[in-house]
Amino acid sequence: NSAIQSTGSSNEQPSNNGTNEETDEQGVVKIGSILPFSGVYASLGKDLSDGMKLYFDQVDWEAGGVKIEMIEEDTEADPQVALRKLRKLMDQDQIDILTGAVSTAVAYAVRDEVDSNQLPYLASHAGGNDLTRAQRSDYIWRSSFSSWQIGHSMGAWAYENIGEKIYMAAADYAFGREVSAAFKEAYEAAGGEIVGEVYPPLGNNDYASYLTTIGSAEADGVYGFFAGSDAVRFVQQYEQYGLKERFPLIGSGWLVAEDLRESIGMAAEGAFVSTFWDYNLETAENEEFVTAYEEAYDRRPTIESLEGYDAARIIVEALTALDGDVQDPDKIVEAISEVEFVSPRGPIKFDQDTHHIIQNLYITETVVEGDRTENKILETVESVQDPGE
């Protein structure tokens, strides 16, 4: 159908109305997934995708009596590309539910388009606070985490266990800024003092100069928010420049993430981080997930694998509740909002106000086991709920 026809109706009613009937007849639900499969975030995109596929495989790609079809598009972590891909998914593939987005910018970019087209969207990674705050939409629900959850959960623990003075270093982009701000808020609320802050640019690979600066500070510990290659470089150089012996390193789970620790090597030992899932969580759900994942892909799952796995399960449960009827987007989001189960990361459910997930957070310590490092769970912060503003 031509553009004129589709837009003629789109001002008033959901655009995917006309075609849903078609899909229903064949009993197929189409899930669109926008993830980065190329560029800097490619490995995250791959893990998310693998996690989703693992779960869909487990239910034989069927839920509520309909077949599940997943169409993946590469966003290249570029918001404009993501928009282009989203339009393709909506218009050409006629998807019923959207999921994905690793980069927060991508999530924000698709936000208006999703909202005005009433397309149910389950955000499965992007953690920008605003997506479930000021930019909240009836059609957007998030099953991953928010920056606030990650940063805030560490605050009180750090004050009690590390000390009263902390130096803060975070990658200079919205995510890094948000997480460290949340940490600072909680840490100061607990009574601690941030004695210095520094924000190296994203993708900075030599931290020598920053480490020299940090090294001359009077602090009890250093909070670092870095991810990916930044994290590897930071943690390694932190040790090489002799800081590790002087200040304990704390941060978010990505600092010593599952897929990075091998590269980081022993330098990771002794880091304390906050995260919402870890490989070594000792629950039945997690053991089952880890075993299944390792069997399917012959490597350890990462936190992104888990995110994908959970997102898939949420979709499946919602579809089951709907009996496979995806005609009405409002019903879909309602079904999603009611999903609640014990995931490998612990019990999860949605906050009906913010549309954001309520979950446990864990403080872990990195320890040496044999010739590699593992994260050990020290403490659980239960049912962390984003304040939503």
Partner: protein
């Protein structure tokens, strides 16, 4: 004051690392007039190949230090003979486009072979210790980089400006036809230079990997930085590249120290200022 001294050492070692990364680009541009946008990719291959050698096959950094650059040189050889050669008569812009295309191709080849995870290379034990200077701990490897950088600079400078080869090579830049008509197999010269450029890029990859790491899209980040250094120094001048590397290294280190948020801005600002004041870079020459 100690902190200033320590930052100076940081700046110097970062600067010479930049030099090691950039000198191949500078050589190829200065001599062939080819702005090799795939230089970063060759650098990346150097790092990845070294990774494979140290992590899986031989576990020897020393072996990687020899084999990885040679393998990259081989890639450079193929690129020059098969792709670059037909474009010499088309002008500089074509080569920019061609090597850019190559960078894309190499990017995906690398991610197909090595995936998109973050990797590192472990340095041999001799270098893995640290030394205390200005009340600050420095990894020995960083200091070794300073020495290696100076060594390469000396060798390149000598060849380029003190030997007949240097003259022939630079003559080819202005008038290939005439160099040929005067009895020099300019095509061969170009191949050799490009291969040496590749060798240096690969070597840079191995040396830099323990410091800068190996991660997807590393080549583009390196490329931009290398281009900045190249331009600040002045095109075609190895000495200029050296001065610029050290300058950029020190400016970047101190800007991170003094204005951490502005460091990205400042490097490009530095380049803009240098070019506005000296339109041919610090040591570049302009000939009528």
């Amino acid at each position: 004051m100690d902190i200033i001294g320590a930052q100076l050492v940081n700046g110097l070692s970062y600067g010479l690392l930049l030099f090691i990364i950039t000198c191949g680009l500078s050589l190829v541009f200065g001599i062939l007039g080819v702005l090799n946008l795939a230089h970063g990719s060759l650098y990346m291959f150097g790092a990845y190949i070294a990774y494979s050698l140290t992590a899986t096959f031989s576990q020897s950094f020393w072996l990687a230090l020899i084999i990885a650059p040679l393998s990259v040189a081989l890639i450079a050889l193929v690129v020059e003979r098969v792709l670059l050669r037909p474009t010499y008569q088309l002008g500089h812009l074509s080569q920019v486009l061609l090597t850019f295309g190559l960078a894309y191709v190499f990017h995906d080849i690398a991610s197909i072979i090595w995936g998109s995870n973050v990797l590192t290379i472990v340095v041999p034990d001799v270098f893995s210790g640290s030394i205390s200077l200005f009340n600050q701990v420095f990894p020995v490897y960083r200091l070794v980089v300073i020495l290696v950088g100076i060594l390469i600079a000396t060798i390149l400078w000598y060849i380029q400006s003190q030997t007949r080869w240097g003259a022939i090579i630079r003559a080819g830049l202005s008038d290939k036809e005439m160099v040929g008509a005067l009895g020099v197999n300019i095509k061969l010269v170009f191949t050799v230079v490009f291969v040496i450029g590749g060798l240096l890029a690969g070597f840079g990859g191995v040396v830099a990997a323990p410091i800068l790491g190996i991660y997807p899209s590393m080549e583009f980040q390196t490329l931009i930085l290398a281009l900045v250094v190249l331009v600040i120094g002045g095109l075609g001048s190895i000495a200029g590249t050296l001065v610029a590397s050290v300058l950029v290294g020190i400016v970047e280190t101190f800007s991170r120290f003094l204005f951490p948020e502005l460091s990205m801005f400042l490097i490009f600002g530095l380049m803009a200022i240098v070019l506005v004041v000296k339109p041919n870079g610090l040591l570049g020459k302009k000939v009528a």
